[in-house]
């Protein structure tokens, strides 16, 4: 028969057990929210990835619009300005592109594409059953523009979202090599917990739509987003020779 433990030790052990039970109970309660939290996390991850791509789209659109404006200046400004002057108006009366707020236009374009792409990508997995089964043969039988564009775009967006998440976390940490690793691990955890299931859910339910025009329109929105997400949101290019 072991001697009785001192009162202080018994109190500490008791508090420890109580805390353990509380933690386990609350963990089970948190686990009960898994379905909601997974869906919310997937949506947030897609939004992060799409925004990273849209930010690049904004820059490219602005560059394109500026180039277009320059081209109009060199090719059309002379003849149109001359025509306006011959009609008694000011030289720049017909130069409709002069002074357009290009940066605002490009930002609006990027915003619209971003919201559309986020809605399309989220709907691709939100409207599915919880755990559909991935099957190669099912995907091959559904092969279409949409079945090709969606998995590639979504994969790029989810990777970009995880990368963006990691960068956001790193921004909040002190500058240290450990912060970089911690942020990278967080990004990886987010990708595994939210990204992979979302991709699986979206790809597993792909069907041949039979509406190639609609598929083309959807692909027109998704392709630039997917391309830019792969180009700028997947941090592998710097490692390549």
């Amino acid at each position: 028969m072991s001697p009785p433990r001192p009162l202080a030790i018994r109190i500490v052990v008791g508090i420890g057990r109580l805390l353990g039970r509380l933690l386990r109970g609350s963990d089970r309660a948190a686990g009960g929210l898994a379905r909601v939290s997974a869906t919310l996390g997937q949506v947030a991850l897609v939004c992060l990835g799409v925004h990273l791509a849209a930010d690049q789209l904004d820059d490219r659109a602005l560059a394109g619009l500026t180039a277009l404006q320059g081209w109009l200046d060199t090719t059309l400004a002379g003849p149109l300005g001359g025509a306006a002057e011959s009609m008694g108006m000011g030289f720049d009366a017909l130069l409709f592109w002069d002074g357009l707020p290009l940066s605002t236009m490009s930002a609006w374009l990027a915003l619209v594409v971003e919201l559309l792409a986020a809605a399309l990508l989220c709907s691709s997995f939100l409207l599915t059953g919880r755990k559909p089964t991935l099957s190669w043969s099912a995907w091959r039988s559904a092969l279409s523009i949409h079945a090709l564009v969606l998995p590639i775009t979504l994969a790029g967006v989810l990777l970009a979202g995880s990368w963006s998440m990691a960068m956001a976390a790193e921004d909040l940490m002190p500058v240290h090599v450990a912060s970089r690793w911690a942020a990278g691990l967080l990004g990886l955890a987010v990708l595994l917990r939210f990204g992979l299931p979302a991709w699986g859910r979206a790809v597993a339910v792909l069907e041949r739509s039979g509406k190639p025009r609609r598929d083309l329109l959807v692909a027109l929105v998704m392709t630039p987003v997917g391309l830019l997400a792969w180009m700028h949101g997947v941090p592998i290019w710097g490692w390549l020779p």
Partner: protein, 396 residues
Amino acid sequence: MRGWSELLLLGAVCTACWFRTPVGGLAHNAVAWLRDEEGRDLLSHFDTRLPTRMEETLRQALVVAEPDPQDLPEGWSPALHLAVQAHLGEDAAKAIAAMGMDQPEDALETWAIGAEQRGRAIRRAAAAGEPHPELFAAHRRFLPAEAAAKADEAVGEVLALSTALDLSWPVDPSWRVSSPFGWREHPTLKSRRFHEGVDLATPVGTRVQAAGDGSVERARADGVNGKYVKLAHGHGVTTAYCHGDAFHVSKGQRVRRGEVVMQSGNTGRSSGPHLHFGLRIDGHAVDPALLRSASGDWTAPSTPLRPVVAPQQPVQPEPAAAEAPEPAPDGAAASETGPATDPTPAEPIEAPQPTAGPATAEPIEAPEPAAEPTAPEFTEPPRAEPPPLAVPEISS
């Protein structure tokens, strides 16, 4: 612990999404709407919309103590030193000043990318036949992309900031701000618009001065901005003065700080006499009120009022513009001596034709023809009780 770790991950992703994406901005705005608070500009998530970093740096620069000009290298203005300090940090400012290079561009570039890389680019530019390879603009394309980006940031942004810091307020600062920079209910359109400048409650005929040395990029009229003048001050910094009543400058003309460019009025899309004053850095609208606190050196314009004549009486642009002397060190000197580019201020200048061209300072609607220019009556601004400068009054 799986449940907790999942919730933690969810919290991290949702927080990042909330603060960093327009979708999060939409959710934020919905909450703000329910709470009757001001929402977030969705376009601010795209860095081409609002230069938050530039504006923040400008704010920082304004609270930094001005250096003693004697401590600066030859050719360095206090504004440039402030810009370096605010944008690159105090250590960088000390390091750059210690280089002792007279040309700010050279010093900033050397600090950003190192003398070796700069020297290599200069050698390459010289080999490629550039006539002035030592100039940043000439050898920039011979820099590696990463170095070019670094140098752009150090040279371009600092010089833009210093140019902006050198600007002054275009009218007597005692005129109240009737509509500040930012989101507002548009007074005539009755919709929520982003106001990319400040409105100053100046009466018709108030003389509007150039905020800094520069050239007249535009002096014309449209249905939105009325008669407006846009000045380019260099390094991507521009200022705009809208709803004017009469022009005092013409396109292409060089102006000095403090020189009268127009008289304020009530033309274009305007609900009453006022001056819209806009500031842009690298194409991005920045709150000009930031300059107001720094414009303590404002002095009344000494330029005599010039009548604007009918368009039939053409006047040649001033040819002396190219040989304009070096800018005066401060606005007081510029005002006292009068505009060096305009030796005959009594000479009338041509009023530009009203056009239906697109506007830049404000959103565009169907343009209307601007009113015919009329001879304005000059009204001297009141000086008796200036309102506090730091907090502009808000009204539409």
